[in-house]
Amino acid sequence: MLALLAFLFKLVGVGFLCVATIGVLRFVDPFQRMHASTKAGTLGAGLVLVGVAIDMGQTDAVIVAGITFLFLLATLPVAGHLLGRASYISGAPLESSEDALEGVLPRCEVPLEARGEAAFERRMESMLGGATDHSGAAAKPDTAHRAAEADAFAKPGYDAVRFAIFGPDAKAIARRAETLAHARSVPLSGIAVIDEDCIARAKVPDPGEVIRSALARTLAETQGVTAESRVPFSLTYEEGDPLALIPACDAQARELLLLPCEGWCDHGADLGLPAGESQPGDKLFALAERHAGATLFVGTAQASGPVAILHDGSDALHSLALWALGSRLWDAKDILLTGRPNAEQTEAIAAFAEENALELTLSDVVPASACAVIMSAPPARQVHEAGEFWQDRIVPGFRADVLVG
């Protein structure tokens, strides 16, 4: 009798598995196939296991079969859920006319397998398109302000250099700022700010003191550089909101702002913020956004390659690029033009290159060896977005300067 019962279980199980296989073969999209494989597949495999356990009868066999059965029951729904979610996010084709998850989960327009070759172009596209997207999200200076900014780029040069002092290491940026200020003989100012918000949110006792002592160490180190400054140097120290204190608001002042590629006004002090919470450094790009004038993110690497212009076709970026080249921010003799400049802009840049004996190359790719990239806005909203450092979005491994408008 037991043998018959076992036989029945096995038969029904194998039947379900066959039906599931037919489903996987014949359904039209991955989600329907998943429906067949996870539901009917689990039931089929489970029934076969139960049948075999009855058939074998020995205690140890029954225990192992039971464990496998329970394990299948526990894991297959989880695996199916994860796979379904990942497929949806990765943009696997969905044949059904309505998309119940629209707006609930982010979804790629193109499935993974269709990316490959065109991936770079699309990456570029999103970077160039991201610029406008970016400005919509944050509070953006009005158009009059924009126009004033464009005016400021009309003739090369800058009238002042300011740099942000972010601990724990600000020596490199101070040295760079001093060089740039000396090249034009303009005043240099360093701004050290302690972010009130960081103090308020910190989870360690007496955060104000912790940050102040971290900043004091940084300032002592920076002093070695600024004391030898060949141009007038002023140091500002404030506590408050860095977004209001660091950027210059007057476009006519033609100030060049230097920021490190990462870091914030907590000066590297350990504030014990939970990893899941938004980190203070996430606001770094908002500084560049608010600054009236050009912002230079000083890279950590010394590269000898060309200056790459990532052109989005806008007039703002065009004037920024010509201004930056005219101001001789970098010594490079090569310029690389990429993105989508219109014919007129390409010509203007070519004419500029010829006038100044520079070598102009048109290219589709930004090389990782570029000594600087000029673009309209950072390619990400945060320094680390989805675990990826923002400069890696320009080109993986790129660590040199980035100039944004």
Partner: protein
């Protein structure tokens, strides 16, 4: 009477194993044909499910319970593989 039933059940198990092999081939076809990564991963899921059942049936036919351990191992690996592949699909999206 009982002997004949036993013989029938064992014989039927062998037939079922052959049917499962056909199902395995079906899932493998889906895995090779695709067309997308998601389809291949779903097919892999299906494939391992059938493999667990086949292991159990082999244990019943040969009367060696070691094959049940193999089935448990396959089930464990299948879960890990699916989770890893799912996270791969999701990560890939975020990067581009």
């Amino acid at each position: 009477m009982f002997e004949s039933i036993d013989a029938f059940v064992t014989g039927a198990s062998v037939v079922m194993l052959v049917i499962l092999v056909i199902a395995l081939v079906g899932a493998a076809v889906r895995m090779i044909v695709g067309p997308g990564y998601a389809d291949r991963f779903v097919a892999l899921d299906m494939l391992t499910g059938i493999a667990v059942a086949a292991c159990a049936l082999t244990a019943a036919v040969t009367l060696r319970r070691e094959f049940l351990d193999v089935g448990l191992g396959v089930a464990l690996i299948a879960f890990l593989a699916t989770v890893a592949l799912a996270s791969f699909l999701e990560k890939k999206e975020r990067k581009s």
